[in-house]
Symmetry: C2
Subunit: 236 residues, 2 copies
């Protein structure tokens, strides 16, 4: 039986062996939720870049939009922020486009997971779809939580627990982090938004006036898209 593990912050990613594994990267608030929403809208591909300066090189490139944030706020020269609802209000502009994206935590986590066999983009929005995808492949899975500046946050941890809950029949849920977060998810699954509202990371983000976004991101299964990383870009 393959193993399912959960890494609660990229700061401890080096204790996991990525080789031969499928990784699901999650940054629920909000990078991977926005990526999933964007692919659902018909974005052609998303190029995650760690540095703002690198993203800025793409401003003005044909058929390309630049998106992202630092510390929760859109970078001024970017076309779009890191808001799934913001992207959805720009559907016509995004369809068929390339997006270059840089965020505080999410794009860094993706770039740190490059040693894995395959990197899937996970969020509550595509929870069942991404679980179904990795379950088909019969390979060890590691959920990598983007966290917040190397700290653990509640929503990514709950997502890890949700994946563990979904995959319990076909995977060995391995490691105390995955086991604890599965229990935490089961306790809170009927009111995920209520659970994370208690969190320090929620309060930090809510100060930027993005409560509607947060509520949106805590919905399960609004899309079947399963974006994945291949040769520098996220596609589906």
């Amino acid at each position: 039986m393959p193993r399912l593990e959960v890494c609660l912050t990229p700061a401890i990613l080096d204790v996991y062996d990525l080789a031969g594994k499928n990784v699901i990267v999650t940054d629920v608030l909000r990078a991977t939720s926005t990526m999933v929403a964007g692919m659902q809208l018909g974005v052609d591909h998303i190029r995650p870049v760690s540095e703002v300066s690198k993203a800025l090189e793409y401003v003005g490139v044909e058929n390309t939009l630049v998106a992202g944030e630092r510390n929760g706020v859109q970078v001024e020269a970017f076309h779009l922020g890191n808001s799934p609802r913001g992207w959805m209000s720009e559907e016509a502009r995004l369809k068929g486009k390339a997006v270059v994206m840089s965020t505080t935590n999410g794009t860094k986590a993706i770039n740190m997971a490059l040693g894995a066999d395959k990197i899937y983009i996970g969020a509550f929005l595509n929870l069942d779809a991404v679980c179904k995808q990795v379950a088909q492949e019969d390979k060890d899975v590691l959920v990598v939580c983007a966290g917040w500046k190397n700290r653990i946050n509640m929503e990514d941890s709950l997502f890890g627990g949700a994946v563990a809950q979904r995959l319990s029949d076909s995977f060995e849920i391995y490691g105390d982090a995955a086991l604890m977060m599965r229990a935490h998810y089961i306790t809170h699954r009927d009111d995920l938004y209520g659970a994370i509202r208690q969190g320090t990371h929620f309060k930090r983000l809510a100060n930027h006036g993005v409560e509607d976004d947060i509520q949106f991101c805590m919905q399960e299964n609004i899309t079947e898209v399963v974006p994945y990383y291949s040769e520098g870009v996220i596609i589906q």
Copy 2:
């Protein structure tokens, strides 16, 4: 109101600022439980050293015993292992002695926390006593979980949650890790041993035949001793 945070593995200790804080180091299975039991037995002081080779230098020193383990097993040349019940069966031999101690995770965590104002040794065995001590001091507190080879484990995380639960009235419970573990502790407080029996780390240790030890370590408040670190040694 001072803050209470929980660091779930020493691998992310560098994201916390230790200066001016009280740290409670915990390695429930079993280093800090053994230290607490040892001080209760009348050990004069315990010198935590990270390396086995360093500990071996003390073999043969007058009034000094050498204790500890690697990967859950007593190092052959040491006088004692890392078992609180083992130490208790040697009470007469331990009374008034110096103990030099090296363990896989616990002593390393102590040595990593040296930037703190004061380092207390915490375990379920002295839970209320150590909480009472830090509550008196009106200073920010960080619980440092020793974990297992930089991974998160259930029993240390639950201890962090227990401290958060005890200190909720007089401290701001800060950070999603502390908040989640407080909830996890409250769910499992009536059967801590039952909770950790489900854990991967428990199974790893139980393979060494130390289930009785584990059951012992999951008891709350069997002693009032509050050992702390001062100038290279743990005293009370």
